[in-house]
């Protein structure tokens, strides 16, 4: 069974309604490891060896974060910069990430329509997050579309609760093997892989 590593990065979780809601329903599963990066490394001093060992022991790497200025929060960037090291993740002998799967779980304040070529921001999420995707594929990982929660400011508590449930189902589906990453590559959003229960 594939093992899942969730890297959660939010500098101010206590002020984030959406992400607190998402974590509330986070599945307890022995194959799902949850890492709260801002809690673990408040001084940005990342334990690279430990993180690499964790990566080696997992098959799916989930980058769970709010979208900040069309990108990932700085600690997550720091984490990638340090942990995906030359000679380990890429370059000569850098094969440790080969064959693994990775994707975003992200929240945005803006609405779904805003992230399109014709929308307010003028680009799709995939276009904005291209550097992260390329980093992963360069390291030999399979890249999946994001699980995105848009318009968080307008979502009601019940709506958030249902999305959290959907997120939980996605993770446990991947962990149990009922969802196969290879078959999800072509989707626009991973949200489509799991039905939104009403």
């Amino acid at each position: 069974m594939p093992r899942i590593l969730v890297l959660f990065a939010h500098p101010r979780l206590e002020r984030s309604r959406a992400n607190r809601a998402l974590l509330k329903r986070f599945p307890e599963h022995r194959d799902i490891t949850f890492r709260d990066l801002y809690q673990l490394y408040p001084d940005f001093n990342i334990d690279v060896t430990k993180e690499q060992d964790l990566l080696a022991a997992h098959d799916i790497v989930v980058l769970h974060h709010p979208l900040y200025w069309y990108s990932i929060p700085s600690l997550l960037k720091q984490w990638i910069d340090l942990v995906y090291a030359f000679g380990w993740a890429y370059g000569p002998g850098g094969t440790q990430l080969g064959g693994k799967v990775s994707f975003h779980v992200l929240t945005t304040g803006g609405a779904t329509e805003a992230y399109s070529v014709d929308g307010f921001h003028g680009s799709t999420l995939a276009q904005f997050l291209l550097p992260v995707k390329r980093t992963a594929t360069l390291c030999g990982m399979t890249w999946l579309p994001p699980f995105a929660v848009h318009g968080t400011n307008r979502l009601s508590d019940t709506e958030l609760e249902r999305i959290a449930e959907q997120y939980g189902l996605l993770l446990s589906g991947l962990a149990s093997g009922s969802l196969v990453p290879r078959e999800l590559v072509e989707l626009e959003r991973l949200n489509q892989a799991v039905p939104l229960t009403i």
Partner: protein
Amino acid sequence: MASFLADAVVYLGAAVLCVPIAKRLGLGSVLGYLLAGMVIGPYLLGFIGQEGKDIMHFAEFGVVMMLFLVGLELEPLLFWRMRKQVLGLGGVQMGLTTLVLGGMALTLGYTWQAGLALGLSFAMSSTAIALQSLKEKGLMHTAAGQSSFAVLLFQDIAVIPILALLPLMAMAPVSAAGPGHWFDALAGWQHTLVVVAAVGGVVVVGRYVVVPLLRMVARTRLRELFVASSLLLVVGIAFLMESVGLSPALGTFLAGVVLANIEYKHEMESDLDPFKGLLLGLFFMAVGASINFDLIRNAPGALLGTTLLVMVVKVLLLLAIGRRAGMAFDQNMLFAIGLGQVGEFAFVLLAFIAQLGILDGPAIDTLMAITALSMTLTPLAMLANEKWILPHFGTKAKEEQPADSIDAKHPVIIAGFGHFGSTLGRLLRANGVQATVLDNDSDQVDLLRRMGFKVFYGDATRHELLEAAGAQEAEILVCAIAPEAAPLLVEVVHKHFPHLKLLVRSRDRNDAYELMDQGVLHVYRETLDTAVRMGVDVLKELGTRHYSAYRAGQNFIRYDQAALKELAAKRGDKVDYIASVREKIADQEDLLRKDLQHDPSLGDHAWDSEAMRQANKQN
């Protein structure tokens, strides 16, 4: 008593007047002392008369101390590295000079014993003059300085066998230690045996008795007691040597070498240094005062001519040796002229020779006059060399200290290696930064040395110790000594080593105020970071997100530093320091009031979705 005080006034007054004038004129302190001696001597002002000779005996103790310090400097390892220079340059210099000057004496009709004795005496150069001048000019690390040191070292050591062997050539019965001494009863070979035994005794006692004794004294942490033991050591050895008819200078030199490796070396050096300086000054004054101007007046041409001849011979031989050693011309000139005089050991040797009857009284008087004259002329010759000769030969550029300098200096000095300093030192060492450590806890010093730290034992607020630790070459000085002593260290550093970047630990904000008043830019309150870190952990335990707590802590440190500066400025206006307790309370009040106005979450709205929700609702 009254006459002692009068003498003291005369000597000290002459020194205080003449030395600064000589230095201002660029003549160096040695010549200043010599001139002061001549001025107060029996032939000019006549403040001191024939007792000049007695003063000389007393002042010879300056030479004794100097040799002890030279010995201390002479770590066996250093000596081993310099062995080629010492034996090569020094041995050749002694041999050649003795041969040439002795040969000249032979042609003048002296006996071979007299010629040899004279040659050996005149081959000696003045360690006091040469080293003092080189140090004053900062030339110790140049090729000239190192070579001079090597030659002088050889001479200093050579005096031991010379003094031991001279009695074997004696024409009259030995009477080294005065009439009626037990020593007189001994035959020449017994004499030699006693000397060897005494020297061996110094070596053994130095190794196995002195070091534990000093350790014990150091543990009492009474500085004056340590000074007293250092003096006792030197005086004791000098006394022992004198009672076996050996030069006290040699005995103490030996003792210095034996003690060169102990941890209290630098402390002893800085304790004895003022005594040495003062006594050496006295010695030079005595030399100046003892110059027999009657002799000069009777035959000025002959005496001056002979002196110049001796010096020219010595300088030429030294030049030849320096050239063979591959020294550049300017370095060679400094080296040859610096060592071109007849040194203070000649006085010692000549006195001994007179006692042995190898040369007669009038001859000895003349030779002594030549010695004193040559010592007086040396600073002038050096000055002439510097002013008129070297400029014509280009390469005056100061030589850089060679990269593999024997005493590698570190860029960082840590003063105080208690819990605070050692933590810092370990951090630096873990990151490949070697630091020189100063500490005054002898047990601690022991331990650190065993762990391979370069540690100097002693009071870090003394500029001599800082100097020895390489403060001149260092870039940063970390002050982690007792907060009570820190202001003194700051003062010393500002005065003597203004180039050093000072990072000072303070205990609390009151210490910090004082340091800031002194103009220290980097003050580290040992209570601040720890208290904040602990507060951050309390916040974490209470459920605050770690990153938020961490930022709150960092912000608080920044805010508190700013508040400290603000309050320090305010505090400067208050003249009344008596009300310091009240002031402290007022300080606390000020601080707490400021804290209330301070909003720790200021500027943290970037990630605040709540604020965005409010804004969205209004739209």
